[in-house]
């Protein structure tokens, strides 16, 4: 042809042709724009209607807030602390003869803490009613020690040793033979830290879930533990013990802790927990709550992706397409790349706006938006764009297989959107069933949006409705990709075999 035309590679020509097709039908461009608006808009609407407040001083209500831990993420840090300062290296040993608490994760033991400010760095060795001996530090770290509950006939000795910024926790069944449970390195620990005994327990909680409401019932709880044979070695310690209710401020007021002393024995009462702040146990709003409009944006994009293929079949235009490009698999590949890229751009615009504006609205309404690492936040935003892109490709492939738009849209909604809505969107299905649906159906891909982390040492309702997917973000996304690849393979096979 004319000299000015650069001869582009065959596939680049197909991409250019398919892109020309997509951009020259105004309804499709509008549909894609609607996809972006829904992705951003539904979340922003929900955010603007979500208000969080908690009891403040003097009967007032203040914005929801949480304590920040050493790494900036929200933590809960409330317990009764019987402490005295320790300068330099040192060691505390104690015997626990009784722990009384309703919660399996109630905690009693020895703790060394940066200071008495809630959220400061710590390391602790403890016994629990339901999970044996644990070594925990800096809120998210948890190491299991010897199992078994504590009683008057089966007491447990604990020992916590500081050497520089290393803290070692040990446990013993007889006070002579010791087992090292774990060692923590706490860079934030000052030369003079607070060392002592502690008791705490997570609140009694229950959860009511129905189609229309989800209510977390939090009841105040108190744990009691009996300590004796207390010895402090090394370092320079103060001489008198101080009792402090750590973190006893703000909203969810807990029962006051306290202590009684009988000879060399202490009985401590405490409430509250030490650990990561986990939704819905605490009022932390995960950022993916702003991405709740994704399912709606996804429908709009899927409709365009399906029409992109089925419109050709309905009008016989596919014959022009295949006569111009007889290598059919490449035509399908070009369509997938063009449609997937367009959906990705639309999804990225929608999800970036949703997270940026939605979390701004949430904060303005008093919600405590969970702090997550930048990489996690970017994964949720870019992952949402990828979710739309892969869904568009899946929808396009289904459209190519069934060659009928209404049937294809029904399949995509029934296979992807509906399973999401009845599991993560509303707690219609029981959590166990919901988990299986989100493992096996294409809706597993929504896991890419999850920023919350499950902590085995925190009991809460880790259900899809609360934002906890059964598969990890990338594994869930891989399930969706698997469906898309399978649909493309079937579409390609049929496209080659069928007469056009």
């Amino acid at each position: 042809m004319s000299a000015g035309t650069a001869e582009r590679s065959g596939f680049a020509r197909l991409l250019s042709a398919e892109w020309t097709k997509l951009r020259t039908v105004r309804g499709w461009l509008i549909g894609l724009a609607v996809g972006a608006l829904l992705t951003a808009g539904v979340g922003m609407f929900i955010a603007s209607a979500t208000v969080c407040s908690q009891p403040g001083p003097n009967g007032s209500f203040v914005a929801c807030s949480n304590t920040s831990g050493p790494d900036g993420r929200e933590v809960t840090d409330r317990f009764f602390f019987l402490h005295r300062p320790l300068t330099g290296n040192g060691q505390l040993t104690v015997r626990i003869t009784d722990v009384r608490a309703a919660q399996a994760w109630a905690k009693a033991g020895i703790i060394i803490k940066q200071n008495t400010r809630s959220g400061s760095s710590y390391a602790a060795i403890m016994v629990t009613p339901g999970h044996g001996v644990r070594m925990q530090y800096d809120f998210t770290h948890d190491v299991a020690g010897p199992s078994g509950a504590v009683s008057r006939t089966a007491p447990r000795w604990l020992r916590l040793t500081r050497a520089g910024n290393r803290v070692t926790g040990e446990a013993s069944g007889d006070g002579r033979h010791w087992t090292t449970v774990g060692t923590a390195t706490l860079t934030a620990l000052p030369r003079t830290a607070q060392l002592g005994l502690f008791v705490g327990t997570p609140p009694d909680s229950g959860l009511t879930q129905s189609l229309t409401e989800s209510t977390q019932h939090v009841g105040s709880a108190l744990a009691t533990a009996r300590f004796d044979q207390l010895t402090v070695a090394g370092g320079t310690t103060g001489t008198s013990w101080t009792g402090t209710d750590i973190g006893d401020t703000g909203g969810m007021r807990t029962a006051a802790g306290g202590r009684q002393r009988e000879g060399d024995a202490f009985t401590l009462h405490g409430s509250g927990d030490i650990g990561p702040a986990v939704s819905p146990l605490l009022p932390v709003t995960p950022i993916e709550r702003t991405l709740i409009g994704t399912f709606a944006g996804l429908i709009a994009v899927a409709v365009v992706a399906i029409a992109f293929v089925t419109a050709e079949y309905r009008r016989g235009m596919v014959r022009s397409t295949l006569a111009a490009s007889p290598r059919r698999i490449r035509v399908l590949a070009a369509k997938a790349v063009v449609m997937g890229s367009a959906a990705f751009v639309v999804g990225l615009a929608g999800s970036a706006a949703a997270v940026a504006l939605g979390s701004m609205l949430l904060r303005a309404n008093g919600n405590a938006v969970a702090a997550v690492p930048l990489g996690t936040e970017l994964r949720a935003i870019v992952g949402t764009a990828a979710l739309l892109a892969v869904t568009a490709i899946l929808a396009m492939a289904v459209g190519s297989i069934v060659r009928h738009s209404a049937a294809a849209i029904t399949l995509v909604i029934a296979g992807l959107v509906f399973p999401y809505l009845v599991t993560a969107g509303a707690p219609v299905l029981p959590a166990a069933t919901a988990n299986w649906v989100l493992r096996l159906s294409p809706a597993a891909g929504f896991a890419i949006q999850q920023t919350q982390v499950r902590y085995p040492q925190v009991d809460t309702a880790y259900t899809p409705f609360n934002g906890y997917f059964p598969l990890s973000p990338w594994l869930g996304f891989a399930v969706l990709c698997g469906y898309a690849v399978l649909a493309l393979a079937v579409a390609g096979f049929l496209l080659r075999r069928r007469d056009a």
């Binding site: 042809m1 000015g4 097709k21 009008r315 016989g316 022009s320 111009a324």
Partner: protein, 310 residues
């Protein structure tokens, strides 16, 4: 064999119980308009789809310039085709419809404007194709076929929906394309549309070729020994001629067509019987008549064959 001829050999195609193609074979040569005619369902469109690699035949093969269509890197630069003028997205403008096609062949947008000019659609090129009349869509389809400046063209029923003015334009246009040395295959279910345009016709029926000949030759062959007789005394004429072994068919008021008798013998018989004659001439068939006879024969032959088979 020319580099731009279209050849099909022994094509067979079944759709379930229906045999669409039953040993279709022909070659379309360049430099003339070749009509591809037959009743609806004779296999014209199926043959064209097979040539374009869209349908896979059960047997046989099709070649364009001695290559299978699907092996062509830029197929629209070898063979331009119009299958269905309605095959476009109504929301897309005519120009954009051609633009995406041009992109598949690595052709510049200037080529799109050139073919739009050629078919006279420039003024409406930026309007939605959904608003085009059927005639305008046919022109857009022709423009699409011309996009790659191909040496061979294949048009399925291009006269459909065209007004008389459009039909005249189309005839001239097809002839000019053929005069440029291109191969031009034009299908129609109405032979009359091709009269005066096609230099050669391939007549098909029931999935196979019935006749493949030049138009002049075909008309001469079909006109054969038929004699047109006009007389006010048709009854007496019939009696006189059938008595001598002739076969007479009425062909209008006071008009008969006589076969199985030579013209001078007819003249002598009528004179002997004193039958008044208004006109006596060798009958010249129209292309339409030729076509009707050919395709009727196919149907009758097939009917008998089926009976024999039972």
């Amino acid at each position: 064999m020319y580099e731009n001829s279209i050849t099909v050999t022994g094509l067979r195609k079944r759709y379930g119980p229906v045999t669409a193609l039953d040993g279709m074979s022909f070659t379309v040569e360049p430099g003339r308009v070749t009509g591809f005619v037959g009743p609806n369902g004779a296999g014209k469109s199926t043959t064209m789809r097979v040539i374009l690699g869209l349908d896979r035949p059960s047997a046989g093969e099709a070649r364009v310039g001695n290559r299978p269509y699907r092996s062509l890197r830029y197929p629209l630069r070898h063979l331009g085709a119009l299958l269905d003028a309605g095959a476009l997205h109504p929301a897309r403008t005519g120009r954009n419809h051609l633009l995406w096609l041009a992109r598949t062949q690595g052709l510049p947008a200037s080529r799109v404007d050139a073919v739009l000019d050629r078919v006279g659609l420039r003024s409406v090129a930026r309007r939605r194709a959904g608003g085009y009349s059927l005639g305008m869509r046919q022109r857009l389809g022709i423009a699409a076929a011309l996009l790659g400046d191909p040496p061979a063209l294949m048009l399925d029923e291009p006269f459909n929906g065209m007004d008389p003015e459009g039909i005249i334009w189309m005839r001239g246009f097809l002839q000019s394309l053929a005069q440029q040395g291109r191969t031009v295959l034009v299908s129609s279910h109405l032979m009359g549309e091709l009269e005066g345009t096609a230099g050669h016709v391939i007549v098909v029926g029931r999935g196979r070729v019935v006749a493949d000949a030049g138009v002049a030759e075909l008309i001469a062959r079909m006109s054969g020994d038929r004699i047109l007789l006009r007389t006010p005394a048709t009854d007496r004429a019939v009696a006189a001629l059938t008595g001598a072994g002739g076969h007479v068919e009425p062909a209008g008021p006071d008009t008969l067509v006589v076969t199985r008798l030579a013209a001078d013998r007819v003249s002598a018989l009528l004179t002997a019987a004193a039958v008044p004659v208004t006109e006596l001439a060798p009958h010249r068939a129209t292309l339409e008549e030729v076509y009707l006879r050919l395709t009727r024969d196919v149907t009758e032959f097939r009917g008998e064959a089926e009976e024999v088979a039972r």
